[in-house]
């Protein structure tokens, strides 16, 4: 079997592009929906109409974004089968379950309720509508939970074992898969990041209204919700990001060392390189500015454990490749004679390293024929792209600390009722709008690009996971996605701009003066919009 490297490259490109694109919309849905739930709760508790109108206005924007999230989400599920057929076969027994459960437990819930959220205002009682919104919010976060359980298994494949007769990984313990510690940290980190994005979205757009002197009451209330929700979320995203870093360093040592551009093991506790230019050729980092102890504390939560460097991890990989070859040999023997006791014992001893032998398939058809040079190449291939990870991680973390500062300041401003006293603050809030997107996309690049060359860490190399399709086919679908996604991005931005510019006042949702009574009769257009916002 020869793997076509063009197909691998194109399939990876397509998956990366569609996943990053999908995740432009998902976190905003995750965050905005809780803001809607909070606003509607205030409405139900106080009975003040403005809060309902806030839910309806932000709901229009939520609806546009939700539609994009749903549209681009289907692609992700299809792609495993379309482009990663061997992956689907090899790990479907484990990986498919959380995806299917996501559909049943979460996506059904949100997709079924979203129609009632938009179109049910006049059909059900206030309390029931509030419950619908809460369950909608719950559905979106549960959806993230199951997807991240699946993703966490790619980073840290627990509770499964290789079966030589079916040539795939099979579940040995579902509780280990579902309660994977990586999944828990990733879940809270990822949804918190989404909450930050939702909060930033509301904060920035409200700041724009205040800069224009429009919708002042409306915007201030919205900002207050965003500031408090955003502060909690920003704190959580950084704290859980730290927990996430800790689990990465336990389970994906190579990813951790690459993020840090730590070419060689340092004495504990390792220092954190704040700035530097990682040099892949020479395997060193130029102009490094180091902060002592910090990396050791992040990575090991201790001061006396060492963290292995890249060179040491490559050596370790070589050893695992050697074991893997033995496992591979035993596997082939078992294919001839499934009762061969000795082969069974060899496989059982080394099956956790079988994936390392599969790394050799890129260089040689039969891993048992590999030369020392092949083994060296395969071991070197376990190093991900260090400069990209190094910088993506630092920018992401920098954004995280900035979010804490901005939301803490906003919270103070909201608490002291000074939200619209300083224009520079409002401008800062407005121009911070893109940062959550930057941080979140970079976060996924660290997580997934940092996982390379593995599709499933230590189990299945990415290159082996592809389908037996032609490069032309993948190019065709990739072209289709680029075309459709570009057109949809243009429409999405155009509609978002249109409705933000119109604002609650222009849409007749809430009068622009501070008078508390809504304009009679002008809610019609809004009613129509929120009705059409259904999907």
């Amino acid at each position: 079997m020869i793997i076509d490297t063009d197909v691998v490259t194109l399939s990876r490109l397509q998956f990366a592009l569609t996943a990053l694109y999908h995740f432009l919309f998902v976190p905003l849905t995750l965050g905005l929906v809780w803001m809607l739930a909070i606003m509607e709760s205030v409405y139900v508790m106080t009975g003040r109409e403005v809060w309902k109108r806030m839910v309806q206005f932000w709901g229009v924007l939520f609806g546009i974004n939700f539609a994009m999230g749903v549209a681009t989400g289907v692609t992700m599920e299809f792609q495993f089968g379309m482009n990663w057929a061997y992956y689907s076969h090899y790990v479907g027994d484990v990986f498919g379950a959380p995806l299917a459960i996501e559909g049943m437990m979460a996506f059904f819930l949100e997709a079924t309720l979203v129609g009632v959220f938009f179109m049910g205002w006049d059909r059900i009682s206030r309390i029931k509508h509030l419950l619908v919104t809460w369950f909608l919010a719950l559905g979106t976060s549960l959806s993230a939970l199951w997807i991240l359980i699946a993703n966490a298994w790619m980073q840290h494949p627990v509770g499964a074992a290789f079966n030589p007769q079916t040539m795939r990984m099979e579940v040995t313990s579902f509780s280990e898969v579902f309660f994977n510690p990586v999944a828990q940290d990733k879940f809270v980190h990822t949804v918190s990041a989404g909450y930050v994005m939702g909060a930033m979205f509301v904060l920035s757009i409200s700041a724009w209204y205040l800069l224009r002197g429009r919708n002042v009451d409306f915007a201030k209330r919205s900002m207050t919700v965003a500031a408090s929700f955003g502060l909690a979320a920003a704190l959580s995203v950084v704290v859980l990001g730290d927990a996430s870093g800790y689990t990465v360093s336990l389970n994906q040592k190579m990813k951790m060392a690459s993020i840090e551009a730590m070419w060689h093991t340092e004495p504990a506790p390792a220092s954190f390189t704040l700035f530097g230019i990682p040099d892949v050729q020479q395997r060193k980092t130029h102009f490094a500015v180091k902060i002592p102890w910090v990396m050791g504390l992040i990575g090991t939560h201790s001061i006396d454990e060492t963290m292995p460097g890249i060179a040491e991890l490559v050596d370790a990989a070589k050893g695992r490749i050697g074991n893997g070859i033995q496992a591979y040999d035993a596997m082939l023997m078992l294919r001839q004679d499934k009762d061969n006791v000795q082969a069974k014992a060899t496989l059982a001893a080394h099956d956790q390293d079988l994936g390392y032998a599969l790394l050799l398939k890129k260089y040689v058809d039969d891993p048992r024929q590999a030369t020392p040079a092949d083994i060296q190449k395969a071991a070197d291939s376990t190093i991900p792209n260090v400069p990209v990870l190094f910088w993506a991680f630092r920018i992401m973390v920098g954004c995280g600390f900035y979010f804490i500062a901005l939301f803490a300041f906003s919270f103070w401003k909201a608490s002291t009722r000074q939200l619209d006293t300083q224009r520079w603050y409002l401008r800062l809030a407005l121009w911070s709008l893109p940062l959550p997107w930057v941080a979140i996309e970079l976060g996924w690049i660290v997580a997934e690009y940092g996982r390379q060359p593995w599709a499933i860490e230590g189990v299945l190399p990415t290159a082996l996971g592809v389908s037996s399709v032609s490069a032309g086919q993948v190019l065709t679908s990739l072209g289709g996605f680029v075309l459709f996604y570009t057109a949809l991005a243009i429409v999405d931005v155009m509609l978002m701009r249109k409705f933000i510019r119109k604002g609650p006042d222009g849409l007749g949702i809430w009068p622009s003066s501070s008078s508390p009574s809504p304009l009679a009769g002008e809610g019609e257009e809004l009613a129509a919009h929120s009705r059409q916002s259904a999907q």
Binding site: G81, G92, E102, S468, G480, F484
Partner: protein, 376 residues
Amino acid sequence: MFDYESLRVIWWALLGTLLIGFAIMDGFDFGVAGLLKVLGRDNEERLVLLEGIEPTWEGNQVWFILAGGATFAAWPMLYAVSFSGMYLAIALVLLALILRPVGFNFRGKIHDPRWASLWDWILSGSGFVVMLVAGVAFGNLFLGVPFRFDGDLRMSWQGGFFDLLHPFALLCGLVSLSMLLAHGACWAALKADHVIAVRAVKIARWMTLLFAALYVLAGVWLAYGIPGYAVVGPVVTDGVSNPLYKQVAQGGSWFAGYMQYPWFWIAPLLALVSAVGVQALIGRRSVAGFIASSLMVGSTIASAGFALFPFLLPSSLDPRSSLTVWDASSSRGTLQLMLIVTAVLLPIVMLYTSWVYRVMRGRITLEQVRKAHGGY
């Protein structure tokens, strides 16, 4: 709890249930979208039709997502082989599905007749693509598809998009299209303003007639023109999931199962009786008519599944590689866990889905739409 054999049969039935759920629930959305330009003569009428499916289509589409997810979890090889093998056909369906969520949401966001009309065409076209391709894909299952496994169970496929367009497969595409257009028309007859409902009744009648004729034709063709597949030698129903452990011969009849288990005949007979039921009921009692068309959709898919049993995906290139219920499933533990999860969650899903339908019940009138949209 259950043995491996029973779990496999249960999951085969569940896969069928999910596909039928998808075809019934989302099928009428596709049908209505496909008929949008025919049933709705102006923008207001089309708004009536769209509002009739808008609050619920999204939940309906999850049946499809779930059928995909459940196939991944319970029948990973079927998922891997069919999705990668029929690559461009699946990509086409995917692009059509991408346009639906945005279409429903974006259509009313700009008040311009050209904008609305553009999305009407897109929604309509995407409905047609999905209805047709689904049928064509099903038709190919009977013809067998050109794939084989190597020793690592890596699949290779010899053939392209146009190889899927065999005349029998195209006929199956038309069966699917007429069936779902009829089903969509029945929903419109139930849900839309009387002006539109009258038209919908007419279309529903014509389409069920067409469906019945094409369905019988496909059945006759299948019986006399398409050779079946059969597992030869010992059939191991609780062995490991490795398709290469068995032997398969081509040349029997796809109706062998019907001869062996005569109760299978209930499905095709019910499909035809329901078609008659739609004719009789849709004009007078639209709810009963819609139930009849739902039965028609469900029993049609069941009749195809019965004929294929125990095959999921026969291989014309290397019959031994064919996927069957007995050798393409997940491990016993996964099937068992997923069964428990499904048994707990699916009833809850049905519960809140029916609540949503109850909240959103009632005919959408032109009056309502004019009041709410002021023309758009």
